[in-house]
């Protein structure tokens, strides 16, 4: 994972609530065996409507997306995070995220920033004309108009994002603890291994 500390630039003012994973990337696009190239299918149904924010030249290449409650609800498809990253989005700001989506986003260095609806409303306004700044180090979202919104993030996730930590590599360092656990369970609950058929 690439380290990430700041995301600065224009933001797509989407504002919708319950943006589900089928909206982010429809199932037809999941037939790939690769992680890349999914940007073409990102937000396909929204982009089919003329005047949508994604095809508005005003926001071309924006690295931030602002959305409503429950962003990323629905499927566990990591393709949603891959598609957004492929589109050039590095941070999403919303009042809440689905648990699975925020996990997937984190694994791909895509920041999910939780702010209250009032802050979202203000940022939606700013995004029409001006850039927004997301700073992971200081955990703040700022605008050129002196707006300053602090956000919470899990310290472990913050550490991983700032340092681009390979989580599997990190867990493998606990290999011995995993073996100890496995041995304990094999003794206590030997029936846990599926019966051969």
């Amino acid at each position: 994972m690439e380290p990430i500390s700041k995301v600065e630039g224009r933001a797509y003012p989407l504002g919708l609530k319950n943006v589900d994973t089928d909206i982010i990337i429809p199932a037809e696009w999941l037939k790939t065996i690769s992680r890349s190239g999914l940007g073409k299918g990102a937000f396909e149904s929204l982009r089919a409507v003329s005047g949508n924010v994604f095809d508005d030249p005003e926001y071309a290449g924006a690295p931030i997306l602002i959305a409503g409650d429950n962003f990323g609800c629905g499927s566990s498809r990591e393709h949603a995070a891959w598609a957004m990253a492929d589109l050039g989005i590095r941070a999403v700001i919303a009042p809440s995220f689905s648990d699975i989506f925020s996990g997937n986003a984190f694994k791909n260095g895509l920041l999910t920033v939780v702010l209250p609806q009032e802050a979202i409303d203000r940022l939606m306004q700013v995004a029409q004309t001006d850039p927004i700044n997301v700073d992971l180090e200081t955990q703040t979202v700022t605008t050129p108009f002196q707006d300053r919104f602090a956000f919470e993030i899990d310290p472990f996730r913050k550490h991983c994002l700032l340092n681009g930590v390979d989580e599997i590599g990190l867990t493998l360092q606990s290999g011995e603890a995993i073996s100890t656990y496995e041995n304990k369970i094999a003794a206590e609950r030997p029936w846990l291994v599926p019966s051969p058929t």
Binding site: A27, S76, S96, D99, I100, P190
Partner: protein
């Protein structure tokens, strides 16, 4: 005395490998189900890093999402090739990756094949008290057996393959208690649609939900799997139902379940898997069974639920501006006018299947309504997709396939089918589908498709009349 614990806490604590100061835990994963769509990039990642699968014995691979549900073998017993080249490539990747990494693979032509969430319980691979993951959000389904089961993304699939663990933080706990007795025509699907309507699509966000109360206890195993399956539709990380005799009866003698003395030892452990008296949940929601009617969705979020006797709501009836805007957008997409009775909405397509409602009991419920009846003339396409080859066989042994075929339904091979619009089974743009699946999202069943979620018997009733129908009018 030790502190009383919830069922969730018991399962969580039994799986902690390491606990870090910030509360993040390394959690051991007992069961990993793998399918073709969310795994290729994970296997590729393992290959690139030169990593092996730590516990292939705890991993089971089954193709389901992409697989066409038409015949898989020709008259000479030869495999019929998959027409779509991308699907064919993805399915071939799983078929190659599984043996290469030593993972047990159930082939598309095997009678055991089916939707991962039907296969796991059916084979006794999924067990009470285990942690179960799969690169699919409806993994919550296995919670019906009292397992802590949840969907994960592909990076986590790779993490589990490599380490058999996940780095997780404990979720909050919620009890959804449903007491009383449900009325006629009300199924497990109606119960979970109603819960989703009450909690909202994000109501369970950050929580693991335990479903309790007399209504849940009185459900069959199939019904419990249906309820827990849709935990994710109200935003929960996982759903849980405490295992009891219904669970044990269902699991006994399943091929991969413990046998003999192991079975007795397992039972002794499973009996301890219940929330202790006095244990505290972070949140409790109580629902009166009398409030649950045969239900149907009107919009594009599973929270958009109404009793079948209801009318399409007006956007003005919602409290805040964002909900009003969302409702208007939903109505535009669904082509519905406020005030229309739900029972006046015509449907052109019927889908009975998906990991929510494709088990034998679901097919029996639909067939009971269809027996001696035929689909209405305006219903162009009606399919039944059994959840597994074994469900299909059982249904055929009971003669259910004849009832469906005589009613004008197509009788298909197992798979995810029209639940998610990534295989050939799609609903045409602008048309409606009465669907027993779990999501009515925009474009979910195909671009422009309009989905109404309901129970198997309600889907059957809609097939007969050609419009959304109160199944109570068709049953005694």
């Amino acid at each position: 005395m030790s502190t009383p614990q919830t069922l969730y806490e018991k399962i969580w604590n039994a799986h902690v490998v390491e606990r870090r100061d910030d509360g993040t835990c390394l959690i051991f994963i007992d069961r990993h189900l793998v399918h073709e769509v969310t795994s290729p990039q994970a296997f590729e990642g393992l290959r690139a890093a030169g990593r092996a699968v730590r516990r292939p014995d705890l991993t089971l691979a089954v193709p389901d999402h992409n697989l066409p549900t038409t015949a898989r073998l020709d008259s000479t017993g030869k495999r019929i090739p998959i027409a779509d080249p991308e699907s064919a490539q993805q399915l071939a990747a799983l078929e190659k990756n599984a043996p290469e990494f030593g993972i047990r693979y159930i082939d598309a032509t095997d009678a055991m094949q089916g939707i991962v969430h039907v296969v796991g319980p059916e084979q006794g691979f999924s067990l009470p008290g285990t942690t179960i993951v799969c690169g699919d959000s409806h993994t919550a389904c296995h919670g019906g057996l009292g397992a802590l089961a949840f969907g994960i993304g592909t990076s986590e699939v790779e993490h589990v393959l490599a380490t058999q663990t996940l780095q997780l933080k404990q979720s909050k706990s919620m009890e959804v208690r449903i007491e009383g007795e449900v009325g006629p025509g009300v199924s497990a699907k109606d119960i979970v649609l109603h819960i989703t309507g009450v909690l909202g699509a994000a109501g369970g966000s950050g929580y693991v939900i335990e479903y309790t109360g007399s209504v849940i206890r009185n459900l069959s195993m199939e019904g419990r799997l249906t309820v827990s399956n849709m935990a994710i539709e109200h935003g929960a990380r996982a759903g849980l139902i405490a295992p009891d005799d219904v669970t044990f009866e269902y699991l006994k003698d399943r091929p991969m379940a413990p046998r003999g003395a192991d079975w007795d030892a397992a039972m002794a452990y499973w009996r301890s898997l219940r929330t202790d008296p006095g244990a505290l949940y972070d949140k409790v929601v109580v629902i009166d069974a009398a409030d649950i009617a045969p239900s149907v969705t009107w919009g594009t979020s599973p929270e958009d639920v109404l009793p079948i006797t209801g009318v399409v709501p007006s956007p003005d009836s919602f409290s805040d501006a964002s909900k009003q805007a969302a409702a208007q957008k939903s109505l535009d997409y669904m082509g519905l006018t406020p005030g229309t009775a739900m029972t006046d909405v015509e449907v052109q397509n019927i889908f009975i299947g998906s990991c929510t409602n494709s088990r034998i009991e679901d097919l029996r419920a639909a067939a009971a309504v269809l027996k001696g009846r035929r689909k209405a003339a305006n219903v162009k396409w009606a399919i039944v997709v059994p959840g597994s080859g074994l469900v299909k066989r059982q249904a055929e042994a009971e003669g259910l396939d004849r009832i469906f075929i005589e009613a004008g339904f197509e009788w298909r091979e197992p798979g995810c089918s029209a639940c998610l619009g990534m295989n050939p089974d799609k609903v045409p743009p602008g048309e409606r589908c009465a669907s027993t699946s779990n999501r009515n999202f925009v474009g979910r069943q195909g671009p422009g498709a309009r989905t109404h979620l309901l129970s198997p018997s309600m889907a059957a009733a809609a097939a007969v009349t050609g419009r959304l129908t109160d199944v109570r009018e068709l049953i005694d």
